[in-house]
């Protein structure tokens, strides 16, 4: 071999719409095989925690929503819990249910969004368009309930800002029926398609030991067989009453392998789980107040008096998000605000996932953890000291070629899994 180590860089600055923020990968490759990877995040760093310590807490709440537009309720939910802990503010039960409903709606839209991106990375644009078409339904419901498609501004310290009215219940139920009717079709397209299976089975494997050692969270950890879910392990809001169980590929009736395919299974089953949670919440939700301190000046005054620290955790679509806050009496702004987003915990799982994989698998493996800071527009190849710029299109073309090659091989053999297992069906019932 001419040179053992070639460097393959994927700097991300110019952005692909499907994979969002900038990050830079540097791959060491031998031929087509990846032997090492280095990750450099930080291009989208806006200094949000720093800005937060110069504003009053209600402004911080709006800022927290703009940490991420996809998890735009997860951060406020973690932050409000942290502040409510620190300041000793109660949240009425109805408000807790509303927070849970909107969180689960967000999980549905986020997982569908991810499934579309994954299909795109594999070269199945028809599937991208199908998933994004059906995703519009949950976006309509989010808009109906919260007034906005993205950035819902629902939680406020002590409750929520909007109630769900009786006229809205049937609309939400209609959405649940719509998705339940579609579930089989999506499962068919994603889980029983021979080419999708061939491109994702045993690709980007993360073993349970690695997931544990690297502190992976969310679907990334669960797809490796760890039954880990904040909603189950540290129940908050009304999640404790809802009997949430962390989902792993075993709930689908297959053995856990920790590959990209398993990550697809887990996310699809979680869409079904979220629908059950929403349905249950609509039934159980008591009438009553939606906030304990309705007047904003009174709320600000109470927050100004508060002294202490608090932690808020939430199972966001991508995994656990934690907010830490420290308040001092007499100060409107927090003294310390610390945010840990799920992708931060999941970044390092890329290292074992990429090991020994092909260059053509880079897009799907990178997307498989559902990074909230990623976009791969062009790659930067450094071969024998010569720079080669390769755009995202080239990388995607490689991925698509591989799908085509595989398709010609697999079309003869039928799909492996033929029906949703009964276990997954009754799991839905439990949740």
């Amino acid at each position: 071999m001419r040179e053992l180590e070639k460097t393959f860089q994927v700097p991300i600055g110019p952005v692909h719409p499907a994979l969002k923020e900038p990050i830079r990968f540097t791959f060491q490759v031998e031929g087509e095989r990846i032997v090492g990877v280095d990750i450099k995040p930080g291009f989208a760093h806006r200094g949000i925690e720093f800005m937060g310590t110069k504003r009053n807490l209600i402004q911080v709440l709006y800022l927290s929503e703009r940490i991420c537009g996809i998890c735009s309720i997860s951060h406020p939910i973690a932050l409000t819990q942290a502040v409510e802990n620190a300041a000793g503010i109660e949240v009425p039960p109805r408000a807790q249910y509303i927070r849970v409903i909107v969180s689960e709606l967000e999980r549905i839209h986020s997982h569908l969004l991810w499934a579309g991106v994954a299909a795109h990375e594999l070269g199945f644009d028809t599937l991208l368009h199908l998933t994004w078409k059906v995703r519009e339904k949950v976006m309509d419901i989010l808009e109906e309930i919260t007034g906005n498609r993205v950035d819902y501004a629902i939680p406020i310290f002590g409750g929520v800002r909007r109630d769900i009215t009786p006229e809205q219940y049937p609309q939400v139920q209609d959405m649940l029926r719509y998705y339940r009717g579609l579930f089989e079709e999506l499962a068919e397209r994603f889980l029983r398609d021979a080419s999708v299976e061939a491109r994702t089975r045993d690709v980007g494997v993360l073993t349970p030991e690695e997931a544990e050692a690297l502190s992976a969270v969310g679907p990334t950890a669960r797809a490796s067989g760890l039954r880990k879910d904040v909603r189950q392990d540290w129940p908050y809001l009304v999640y404790g009453d809802l009997g949430i169980k962390a989902i792993t590929p075993e709930d689908y009736g297959t053995e856990t392998r920790g590959d990209v395919y398993d990550r697809v299974i887990v996310r699809l089953l979680e869409v079904a789980q979220s629908m059950d949670i929403i349905e249950r919440c609509l039934e159980d939700m008591p009438a009553g107040e939606i906030t304990s301190i309705p007047k904003v000046p009174a709320l600000l005054a109470q927050l100004k008096k508060a002294e202490g620290e608090g932690i808020g955790r939430h199972e966001a679509p991508r995994g656990e998000v934690i907010h830490y806050i420290r308040l001092e009496a007499g100060k409107e702004e927090p003294v310390v605000w610390k945010v840990k987003a799920p992708t931060y915990s999941n970044l390092m799982s890329w290292v074992p996932m990429f090991r020994d994989q092909e260059i053509a698998d880079i897009p799907i493996i990178a997307a498989s953890i559902d990074p909230c800071m990623c976009c791969m527009d062009r790659v930067h190849l450094v071969r024998a000291g010569r720079d080669e710029l390769v755009w995202k299109e080239k990388l995607l073309a490689l991925s698509r070629e591989k799908t085509k090659r595989i398709q010609s091989r697999v079309t003869a053999s039928g799909p492996r899994v033929t029906a949703l297992s009964p276990r997954s069906a009754d799991h839905g019932g439990e949740a």
Binding site: V15, K20, E21, H45, G47, M51, Y62, G69, R149, V150
Partner: protein, 144 residues
Amino acid sequence: MKLTSFKRALWVFHVSTGSCNGCDIEIVAALTPRYDVERFGIRLVGTPRHADVLLVTGTVTRPMAERLRRIYEQTPDPKAVVVVGGCGATSGVFYESYNVLGPVDEIVPVDVYVPGCPPRPEAIIDGVVKAVAKLEKLAAGEPV
């Protein structure tokens, strides 16, 4: 100039310079079947060298400023820049930070601002159509 039809297909390159992804997912929503801008010949391309329009989202972070400038220079003339979202237009909620260099127009010239946090897909499409109007004037040699 009133725009009754497009003279040619329009290629768009999307840059995120520090956005929260909110605007970015709405841009993808505009491309997918509910809004489907591809039926007008508007499509996203993978490199600024092929683009007629730059869609920029987000306030500009320190490391992205230089990259944005480079992408702008790589885009062939005539070109139009559309800023999608409040934080690209004014920095929005991102002010008083050590790592934010300000709204997009501090870094490159901007032709169209689409307000909203995030704007709806319809508004994004409207912004791109305004950019087409500018490009067609430029192509016809009219003053813009």
